[in-house]
């Protein structure tokens, strides 16, 4: 029954092809990015949350 539904959609075969192409491109981009990223940059970004406030020196857990 569902096969008939799909067959009656114009150019239904293009949908899986589009899906696959988008996916493939996306992961290629991801891989390319992964291998080209540089460490100093990621180190700098990783430290961002730690450098944003004047009050970080207060250690609120020191009453333990």
């Amino acid at each position: 029954m569902y096969k008939n539904i799909l067959q009656s959609i114009d150019n239904v075969a293009i949908w899986p092809v589009i899906s696959f192409v988008i996916f493939f491109l996306f992961f290629l981009l991801m891989l390319w990015w992964f291998f080209t990223i540089d460490k100093p940059y990621t180190d700098m970004m990783g430290r961002k949350p730690l450098e944003d406030s004047n009050l970080d020196s207060i250690d609120q857990t020191s009453n333990l």
């Binding site: 992964f34 944003d52 333990l64």
Partner: protein
């Protein structure tokens, strides 16, 4: 370089935090009440505004949008200002956002118990409130994007990306799923029907979990966990991959909520494949969170903030492994419609969202009030009562879910169902419901302890409404070491937003466009006819009372289901049967039996007696009594508007049928009251119960028209 003195707005963060705690307590208390109702129906109080069907959506909406929502805004407003080195774009917008959101919550708290609901899960609020949500969300978005634009920080940290994706995706989800045609101020019909409505709703439902309960909290995790551990995130590279792959894959997985339903197979398979793929980014993110604590595990033993966060991240990992497993068709065949799903969402809700919120609050309050936590010991008690609460909640629900499902499917050697009466399978799991309620209670006690602890902490310090900091102005030439294309993207928040939008829209479009094309192609079943005016009114009462909370209308193509729900004809539910269902009412949980073939199964008088006192007909029934249906009258005057709205949506009522509708309604009601009178039950034809009986007696009859004609019905 000259430094600039700016002030971070802590007051708005404080307001959202107070709202979080208050609505957390309210939402969880309602949760505890409905948990108790499931084993002591007495706690429905014989009062229409407190029945399970009406307040279950109140619980879900309160915890999702009021508790978790307010906490999300608190976390976003706090971290965003600091990560972007800028005060929020506009104080006026911040406060419009805050009060607008609280008014929406208030509107939900009033309308849901009144039975004003669209019945679509986590999207129950009626159209005027939907519009208000859209407006407030836009205010939040403008405030956020405005802050990003006026930032003094060249690079957008990954948390900000998660916030941006949250904003745009929730906007798209909410608008698409809320297409509805108003009939009156408090009533609308979904623009979509049947299978399409189900697909859109679960595309929404699934991604609301993804983009309301997950992505903003991942942003919060990537900010607050490094803060609390006082070390940078384990791998920033991994966090970026986590982001892009998560938002790209998540959006495709919605159909896994509709496995074995009347949804086309290709859409179901798509949902399964993408759900399994989701394990990779989710676990990458979880490991990234946990590994951030490398070298700091000794502090986890002592610091309640870290304790809560570690359990939260672990719960995220468990729930995101369990989700894909549940989406496998063979697992789903057992788990769907059972308490297993309830356990799953609560591992996510109580563990991931709840514990991350608690950890964040225990860290924020001492920070914002410039003091120390009032009692670490009390926070530890909270931690253990919360953890024990989650265990006592989830484990019994897993057992109850699997047990009940296996009972539903058990056959005697002769080929009969062992548990022919659905109720038997419910009464057997009552002890587990009781333990679950205890688990919920322990968790709630913990929240009270936290509220007390945080209030005492606040009183011991001094609140800094505006936190002053010196920051360097944004230098366009300021460059980070190294270079690559992604950094260019982070300089352009608008472009970034557009790309994130494209990433989420592709999945949604590919998933849904074919199903919209199906519109004219759903295999129509010639005998399926629009509801009569009385049935339509009855259906609206069914929606108002929240029957869909406990009763599905979707018989899956399993021998055990067709034998239970349609033993005579063995018909499972077909897509073509739902073409006039605005909205669809498939349900997601069976606390009672499926009703899709209930029509004609019992006499009118059976329903009449059953609704009045379910326990008298079915000994041990947990269904509440619906006595008000016998006193309240159908508002017949709304009938023409309803017929006309349905026609606008594509239901083929003949032109001008509105004028005849009320007369037809009265005629059908008259037949039912006569039937009832013959069996000794006197009731007015205007009573709501008559319409509800008419609707229930119609369910599943269309596909049996031939047989009905043959037997002279």
């Amino acid at each position: 370089m000259e430094l600039e003195r700016i002030q971070y707005d802590n007051k708005i963060v404080k307001a959202f935090m107070i709202a979080t705690v208050i609505f957390g307590i309210v939402g969880m208390t309602v949760g505890l009440l409905i948990a108790i109702q499931l084993f002591y129906p007495l706690f429905n109080f014989d009062f229409q505004y407190t029945t399970f069907g009406r307040i279950r959506p109140l619980h879900t909406n309160a915890v999702i949008f009021a508790f978790v929502g307010n906490a999300m805004f608190a976390g976003v407003y706090y971290s965003m200002q600091r990560l972007l080195k800028a005060r929020m774009f506009s104080d006026a917008l911040s406060w419009t956002h805050f009060w607008g959101w609280q008014l929406i919550i208030l509107a939900a708290a009033i309308t849901l118990p009144l039975g004003i609901t669209t019945s679509k899960e986590y999207s129950e609020l009626e159209w005027p409130i939907d519009i208000a949500i859209t407006l407030v969300w836009v205010v939040f978005g403008i405030n956020m994007i405005g802050t990003i634009i006026k930032r003094r920080e060249n690079h957008m940290y990954v948390a900000i990306w998660f916030y941006i994706s949250t904003f745009i995706t929730v906007a798209v989800l909410h608008v698409v799923n809320s297409f509805e045609l108003p009939v009156s101020l408090f009533k609308s019909y979904s623009f979509y029907a049947g299978v399409q409505d189900a697909l859109v709703q679960w595309w929404y439902g699934h991604n609301a979990v993804a983009f309301f309960l997950t992505t903003p909290f991942l942003g919060i995790m990537y900010y607050f966990l490094p803060k609390a551990a006082n070390r940078p995130v384990y791998s920033y590279r991994l966090s970026v991959i986590h982001f892009w792959s998560l938002i790209f894959i998540y959006i495709w997985a919605g159909p896994h909520h509709l496995l074995y339903s009347a949804l086309p197979d290709w859409a179901q398979s798509l949902g399964v494949v993408f759900s399994v793929m989701l394990i990779a980014p989710s676990w990458g993110g979880m490991l990234n969170g946990l590994l951030t604590l490398r070298g700091a595990w000794d502090r986890v033993r002592e610091d309640p903030v870290l304790k809560f966060m570690v359990v939260a991240v672990t719960a995220y990992g468990m729930a995101t492994l369990e989700g894909p497993l549940l989406s496998l068709k063979n697992v789903n065949a057992i788990a769907h419609f059972t308490d297993w799903i309830i356990a799953h969402v609560h591992v996510g809700g109580l563990g991931w969202n709840g514990f991350l919120i608690f950890g964040m609050f225990y860290w924020l309050v001492p920070k914002m009030w410039g003091t120390r936590l009032y009692s670490t010991q009390l926070a530890n008690v909270h931690f253990w009562s919360g953890t024990l609460g989650i265990i006592l909640y989830a484990l019994p629900m897993y057992i109850a879910g699997v047990m009940q499902s296996l009972m539903w499917k058990e056959f005697t050697p002769e080929g009969y169902l062992v548990y022919q009466n659905f109720l038997e399978t419910s009464t057997k799991i009552m002890p587990f419901y009781m333990i679950r309620a205890l688990g919920g209670f322990l968790y709630l006690v913990g929240v009270f302890l936290m509220a007390y602890n945080l209030v005492k902490t606040a009183y011991s310090g001094k609140f800094m409404a505006n936190e002053e900091v010196d920051v360097a102005p944004l230098m366009k030439t300021q460059e980070a070491p190294g270079g690559y294309w992604h950094r260019a993207l982070e300089h352009k928040p608008v472009l970034f937003t557009i790309l994130a939008f494209i990433a989420i829209i592709i999945g949604g479009a590919i998933e849904m466009v074919p199903s919209f094309l199906i519109k004219s192609n759903v295999p129509t079943i010639a005998s399926v006819k629009p509801y009569t005016p009385l049935e339509l009114q009855g259906r609206d009462i069914y929606i108002r009372e929240g029957c869909v909370s406990c009763h599905s209308q979707m018989i899956r193509p399993f021998r055990s289901e067709v034998q239970r729900y349609d033993p005579k004809d063995g018909e499972y539910s077909k897509a073509g049967e739902y073409v006039y269902d605005h909205p669809f009412l498939w349900g997601s949980k069976r606390s009672g039996p499926d009703l899709h073939r209930i029509g004609g199964k019992y006499a009118d008088s059976w329903h009449y007696r059953h609704f009045y006192e379910p326990g008298e007909i079915s000994n041990g029934s947990i269904m509440p009594a619906y006595k008000w249906l016998y006193e309240q009258s159908i508002d017949k005057s709304t009938t023409p508007a309803k017929i006309s709205a349905m026609r606008t949506l594509g239901v083929p009522y003949p032109e001008g049928y509105e004028e005849q509708a009320i007369a037809d309604l009265e005629k059908q009601a008259g037949r039912i009251t006569e039937n009832l009178k013959l069996e000794g039950y006197e009731v007015s034809g205007d009573a709501e119960i008559v319409a509800l009986i008419a609707y229930l007696q119609r369910l599943g009859r269309d596909v049996k028209v031939k047989e009905d004609v043959a037997t002279g019905n």
